[in-house]
Subunit: 619 residues, 2 copies
């Protein structure tokens, strides 16, 4: 620590004091917020921003810039104060905190140019940080990622998923800083100020660890500067801190989480803090060293697709093939897996493009967080698992939604049609979950051609896209030049005599087509729609079909009856005087053969035929 | 180990061999399944069932019986074989594996009397085991819980959430056995056969650890017998194993995950295994020592509820009060928290009944798994957090649904009306998520009285119940003796001239009531429904209201437009010729005051008035 001049230390201390002042002022002005959580972190943040990070304040999200992720998102005011300190936003703005007209929200969101992903649901920052670090390395950048964690959030398993994978991947460009103030929202944390307890866990995970006093600026600066070892391991700095540090009458006390100071208390606390300022100039911001790194641009041309001659392939397998094909010309595409790559067919991508494949092992939450980090570096991540296991990452997906992350998720093994493995492996609620992601896109291809199209649409669309694939082989329905669009549908069977319109996707579309044949032979004409775009949904197309078929729709889905394809159709046309009948799985299914399960849960061709006959027979 | 007689060891080895034979035979008969994952675990399972567990084969789920949780649920055949070996099921049944008529499903579910919770989504067994162990202790039982984990699943953070909390709670009646066979589904696991890597992590978590050769029966038996130390720490047995152990031509090879042997290969493997049998009698099953322990029965009488005189209280606060009131006479009720008890008001229960309160810290997945374990011991767990953070446990909730777990979840801070904390803290997809739990109940009270009623309904109902509460204070609408039912609704405003029916719940019900007043003054009559039971839903009640009000409904919800209250109404009446208009949050919200946010996202009283006027003005 001998080479750290006193002037630098004092200058950083001044910055930390200003961060505290700004945090108090902003939260008191807002009437809510977490000043004490900012105060414990202020010294750490000052040292990271002005003593360690190399970045461009005008281009904070460049792949060459070191990144900072505030995993403890409730300390947003200290983040905003730091970016005011470096000049990226104006200091006057800080007191607009939490106002509806301000982008300085209660917890950080990427409405702000320096925020990579929204935080505020705890325990997600380290996985995102690993994604940012992985992306930087992949792009040839030497940039590092600093993640500031609260101690309470280390109870979240997602933190350890990220920690284990970071060590496994030797991500020595990732630095975790844990602000151990010992106090959670509603009481002491599980490990209180037991710093060795944290150190043991990070060490056991394979990390370098440094344990410091988080309010001793010399120790803090030394630690954050030693963040990159070159020794192949990520670094965890475990900092003993005090909640509310530097705020008189509040420091170290319970009962002050998420509470602003009253106006008079804020004035007194600010006056006391101002009295400590030496009014030294801040040290210069350190700029990135290497500026050549970049993520590949989108490709100019696309390879065309030709469906297989033999005409039958599972959409999950078509997904893997499509990813390989599209990834060949689009170097932005990376694929992530949670140890099911031989089932989702992501392994095809791994074999073709091993340098753009990230095996995340059985840790779906972290897979999604790493993907969000990669997306924030300009990559187009495709993360896949069994669709039911993607629900493990529901909160990470929710936060990626708030982040408007450019994330693609593929869930295979949808519905009861997976068969013998039983209900724990069947996704029957995934459409409900993914449809509720704001601005999210939900695609559900039924054959190889539409799967290839959906993967291409996903790659080209900016935002979260979910693709649902099927385990069983299904016939090819479309020629290679058929056009698909986000928000579209296909009328695959129609006649002038159609009595109603069957709306389906995936396995049930094939059942509907078989039912159509059987009904046609019996003289009952029905229209059939392939609803490959569940969200957005083609309201006009659905309405046109309904109007032409006695204002009657019948939805059929391999999904529970709540929130899925049927609900999507109802939400689209429920105000338009259409009668919508629905067929879906309405109980917890068993293990069994796909055919028997489709029959038992009433979504196979025979069930559709019966239901159509009932509907057309009723007055 | 000196006191372990050779005869006992050989007898257990025979059992392990039979478990392997049965697993091969069942999976080959089924044509699918995971024999190699059974084979690596067979010695461990034999030793646990016949050398360590004290249980009643006829009452495997008694609180006095030691429990066994197969966290690596894909090894189901070895579990079924073990229960056949102890006589709880018939050996002949084993070859019905995965048939639609059999309860021997691909992964275990509680259709079987010896399965506490469904497994098959990895990483959830240890948390459930902690719940079982916690419940046993709470009931005065000395029973232990053994959890068999796969090595691959230890990449799931949920395992470490459970490990940390188990150590924190000194759960020395919990024994984890990790089957380290080094191979995942699609390749080697993250830590392969690095047993010290596992040991370091469990030790760092505060566990006793034993590292053994999982195929050396003497070592295995010694370890599982040392499972309870009395030293206040849970025990982890880390067993080096070989995937496919004992199956010729498959043992230790990659590419055999989830694949049955072909018939001829199975015959050869079984013949070879049979050649090893010494045909010794199995050791006697050890019975529980203490039989007096029990969970309290449901109470005979209930305390009545009297709403507060001043007439305004947040439903989240009413939830805490109701839990205290009902918990006073019902000793089955336990409450769990994820470090937000001062916001959800679960802290009221903690203060009143500290012995029935489990602080799970910031680890919602584990909170739900522990709850499922407590429910499996006969307790009625109420787990609460911010509703948005319950999405963190979506997969645990999904599995609890498959388990038909008697689990109650309360999500506070619903919707944009929470205000300044911003979107990361707002639940806007929780209704979509919880509605998709099969047989689940979703309640959404709007005032203190209905909250008390909903908590009582939840306690009395067997199955998963989700209660959604609101942050803001709301007026009391109902007197203490008003009756509520699961599947009911309340028509809170009506007249003979109603032009349409507004359907709302929670904060939007209060907005709807204000809109009703304003519209009434302007001569526009509307009916208003309090849809406190979102699932099941009162289709007849909704239809009656619709028929009386020009077949027109207008739903208003503080939730995204997909899958929520409006979708529930549409799903109920979508085939009945009702025109349903909807108002909901349709974009990612900002931080701001509750009032401004309700206005900005178009779900406040003024928006309702405008929308009603538009609807009644249209032809």
């Amino acid at each position: 620590m001998a080479d750290l001049p006193d002037g630098l230390i004092q200058s950083l201390e001044d910055i930390a004091t200003r961060l505290r002042i700004d945090s108090i002022r902003a939260t008191t002005a807002a009437g809510s917020g977490h000043p004490t959580s900012c105060a414990s972190a202020a010294d750490l943040v000052a040292a990271i921003f002005f003593g360690a990070m190399r970045f461009d304040p005008q281009e904070p999200r460049a792949v060459t810039s070191d990144r900072f992720v505030l995993s403890k998102g409730h300390a947003a005011p200290v983040l905003y104060a730091a970016w005011a300190e470096v000049g990226t936003i104006k200091r006057e703005e800080l007191t607009t905190l939490r106002d509806i007209a301000s982008d300085l929200e209660g917890h950080p969101t990427p409405r702000l140019p320096f925020v990579d992903v929204a935080t505020g649901s705890l325990g997600q920052g380290l996985g995102v940080g690993l994604g940012l670090a992985t992306g930087a390395r992949c792009a040839g950048s030497d940039a590092r990622t600093f993640v500031l964690l609260g101690d309470g959030e280390t109870a979240e398993g997602s933190v350890w998923e990220a920690a284990y994978l970071a060590a496994h991947r030797k991500a020595d460009n990732l630095i975790a800083v844990v602000d151990v103030n010992g106090l959670g929202q509603s009481g002491p944390t599980m490990w209180d100020h037991d710093l060795p307890a944290f150190q043991r866990k990070f060490r056991a995970a394979g990390w370098r660890t440094l344990v410091i006093d988080g309010h001793d600026m010399r120790a803090v600066l030394d630690a954050v500067r030693r963040g990159r070892s070159g020794r192949g391991a990520p670094t965890a700095i475990i900092a003993r801190t005090v909640k509310g540090k530097g705020i008189e009458g509040v420091e170290g006390l319970e009962g002050w989480h998420g509470k602003p100071l009253p106006a008079d208390g804020a004035d007194r606390a600010i006056a006391a803090l101002e009295g400590r300022l030496r009014h030294l100039p801040p040290p210069p911001i350190q700029r990135p060293r290497r500026r050549a790194a970049r993520v590949a641009p989108p490709p100019a041309a696309r390879q065309p697709y030709a469906p297989p001659a033999d005409g039958s392939i599972a959409t999950r397998e078509a997904y893997g093939e499509a990813l390989v094909r599209i990834g060949a010309s689009d170097a932005r595409i990376v694929a992530l897996d949670g140890d099911v790559k031989n089932s989702t067919y992501a392994e095809k991508f791994m074999q073709a493009h091993p340098d753009r494949f990230v095996e995340c092992f059985i840790a779906e939450q972290n897979m999604v967080s790493v993907s969000a980090g990669l997306a924030a570096q300009g990559y187009v991540p495709f993360a896949s698992s069994f669709a039911c296991f993607l629900t493990r990452a529901a909160d990470q997906v929710r936060m990626a939604g708030i982040s408007r992350s450019n994330l693609k998720l593929c869930g295979s093994h949808a519905g009861v049609s997976i068969g013998e493995d039983g209900p724990s492996q069947m996704a029957l609620e995934d459409l409900a979950l993914f449809r509720a992601v704001p601005d999210g896109v939900v695609l559900y291809p039924s054959d190889a051609t539409s799967t290839h199209a959906c993967v291409q649409l996903a790659a080209d669309h900016r935002g979260i896209v979910y693709i649902r694939t099927t385990r069983m082989k299904t016939a090819v329905l479309y020629s290679g030049d058929e056009a698909f669009t986000i928000g579209g549908l296909k009328v695959v069977r129609e006649s002038g005599d159609d009595r109603l319109t069957v709306v389906a996707a995936g396995i049930t579309l094939h059942e509907a087509l078989a039912a159509h044949e059987e009904l046609r032979s019996a003289g009952v004409a029905v229209r059939v729609i392939d609803l490959y775009s569940i969200k957005p949904i083609d309201r006009a197309g659905l309405l046109a079909a309904a109007r032409a078929t006695h204002d009657t729709l019948l939805t059929v889905e391999d999904h529970y009856a709540e929130g899925g394809l049927g609900a999507a159709v109802l939400e689209a046309v429920g105000d338009a005087g259409v009668v919508t009948h629905r067929m879906a799985v309405t109980e917890i299914p068993r293990s069994g053969s796909p055919k028997k399960l489709l029959a038992r849960y009433g979504i196979d061709r025979a069930a559709i035929v019966r239901r159509v006959r009932e509907i057309v027979a009723s007055p």
